[in-house]
Symmetry: C2
Subunit: 360 residues, 2 copies
């Protein structure tokens, strides 16, 4: 079997080529990247485990694509421009055919999103991949989860539930009757959504300054919207505490009062009938009424965002320009928790407590 160094030289080093002369890619102890002026660095990490995040039967090309795509999706959620990624690849064996396909997948997504491989480590062991990607945002312009405001429109890119339905298709857990309803195009769409998700990298950068908060939908729509609410509430609490402390100190010069949240908590109302669905997922819903696939399935890699109504028209113009559908699905309100509604009526079947994908 080839030594690690040959393996890197043959398969991975060619993917590092798009760096400038002042930069260093694969072949040293580390990579060196030039930072654009007045920018901050954004760092994201995602691990994919064979048998957990992808099936044993998954193609090496798809594994490579997805391992980078899920990280680009995180960068997109921060409004960051991708700069490079490194790969921790643990492999059971040095399988040349697998590696050729894997490198082909890395090359495809790297070229499509102009993001070079800048380094990594190849080790022997069970198939596990950790990708860490770096990106740049102009100083203080990262889109954070913590920026949601009461009155914001809650919206998502493209359609929801396709990756989760794609997984059911691959696992062969769908009824023959339902499967017979899917067209070849719908089948293909679901498999693509599962295996080769397209991160919203291009539009994300244009949405900087227009959206108040964002998260990418990896754990499930409700879970990831929940992360936005939690971080936004944390921030409000921190702000309230610091305002209280400073006003108390000014007014009586004594020690600060006990921490308390003077603002009502943020929550969200979601109108289920507005959640954008592909024709395949619509058929699935008609057949099963299984909303959990859409609300908690995860693996969407679309953006869930909150936008001030004042910016909504501008967001729609950006959506049109980039050919990405952005659909309003609800609103941020002064009531904690997430309420799922159908045509304005709360759904009383416990959907509001449905959680996203639990890793443990």
């Amino acid at each position: 079997m080839a030594l690690e160094f040959d393996l890197i030289e043959t398969y991975f080093k060619p993917l590092s080529k798009s760096l400038s002369a002042e930069e260093v890619g694969i072949g040293d102890d580390g990579a060196v990247l030039t930072v654009p002026e007045n920018h901050q660095m954004v760092v994201v990490t995602d691990t994919l485990v064979c048998g957990v995040h992808f099936l044993k039967e998954a193609s090496a090309y798809d594994i490579a694509w997805k391992s980078v795509a899920v990280n680009l999706s995180d960068l997109a959620a921060m409004g960051a421009t991708p700069a490079g990624y490194s790969l921790g690849l643990t492999l059971p064996e040095n399988d040349q055919a697998w590696l050729i396909e894997f490198a082909r997948g890395l090359r495809a997504i790297g070229e499509q999103f102009k993001v070079p491989l800048i380094g990594g480590d190849t080790t022997k062991g069970p198939l596990v991949l950790t990708v860490t990607a770096q990106g740049w945002v102009p100083n203080q312009q990262a889109i954070l989860r913590s920026g949601a405001q009461v009155g914001d429109v809650v919206c998502v890119t493209q359609t929801i539930g396709d990756g989760a339905l794609g997984l059911k298709l691959v696992l062969d857990s769908l009824s023959p009757v339902f499967k017979a309803q899917l067209t070849a195009g719908e089948n293909q769409h679901l498999l693509s959504a599962l295996n080769r998700p397209v991160p919203q990298s291009k539009i994300a950068v244009a949405l900087r300054g227009l959206v108040n908060s964002a998260a990418d939908i990896s754990d499930g729509l409700l879970a990831d919207l929940g992360h936005i609410l939690k971080q936004s509430n944390n921030k409000k609490t921190r702000l309230a505490t610091s305002i209280l402390e400073s006003s108390h100190q000014k007014s009586c010069g004594k020690s600060a009062p006990k921490k308390q949240n003077v603002f009502a908590e943020l929550g969200a109302d979601i109108e289920l009938t507005q959640v954008p669905l592909s024709t395949a997922v619509k058929k699935y819903l008609a057949a099963t009424d299984d909303w959990s696939l859409i609300l908690s399935g995860g693996d969407d890699y679309q953006l869930c965002m909150t936008v001030s109504p004042l910016n909504w028209d501008k967001v729609q113009l950006v959506a049109e320009k980039y050919g990405v559908k952005i659909t309003k699905i609800g609103q941020i309100v002064h009531q904690s928790g997430i309420r799922c509604l159908k045509r304005g009526t709360p759904v009383a079947d416990g959907l509001d407590t449905v959680k996203g994908y639990a890793h443990f």
Copy 2:
């Protein structure tokens, strides 16, 4: 079992605290770090696999320490100041006692080297850790492997072979007669070298501008010195080709000639008797004459550097200031390959072909 988010909140988020108000740590899709002005980013990645890079019996504290230390060692080899690290942690189960010890190990090394955890991903599966660390270097001042020059002093920090002998100790593959010769202090030194290597982060930054090239010794002294020679030769070839091409174009205006290397290749002469050894490794060598442990054992996390003789005195002053021993072990010469000498006489037993740790 706790959800991933509880696990992150409880064990990992507290390690992210040392970021500034303009920065974002754990809790969003990614971390946001402010870049010091006129600096480049350095990125390094290392993966540790249970049963390959550490034993099943290794303590969670040691695994945490080492997973960060080996990355800080790579940053040190580049002359970079650590900025933060992210962790891809794949765990077979949510074992609270293990996680508490693991977080304690992360905290210890994070505090010692002032490097915060900035993000990561926790997944279920076989125990594998990938750490990616970011650091900063002033523009164009990274120490590269490719900078070695003929006449350079080859030197290393501290002592070599301790980690590899520590592994033999833990694997119980040493003779009882030899083990009886080790003092309690020597035993402790070997186990520390294996389990809690101390990266040369502090001195590395001070060596920027004084050393021509560096690599950290993870694969073995000869292998890592070999990386320096290979990268330096590659660079010379590139330079030579570009000089030839431009002079040819200037002189006759025709297409460039075939690529060729007009300079002799770099190599190194290493004087084995000068390689700095701990008392434990000296005893091992006296008992076994097994130089392969020292030359190819790996897991040293010391720096192998090449230094112009003009800078040697300054390097010694820095070494003194930081309390780190830097020992001359050889010289870069105009002859390709690495020759091992004993008191000036080439060692004829094939040591010059000993390779470093092969990952596959």
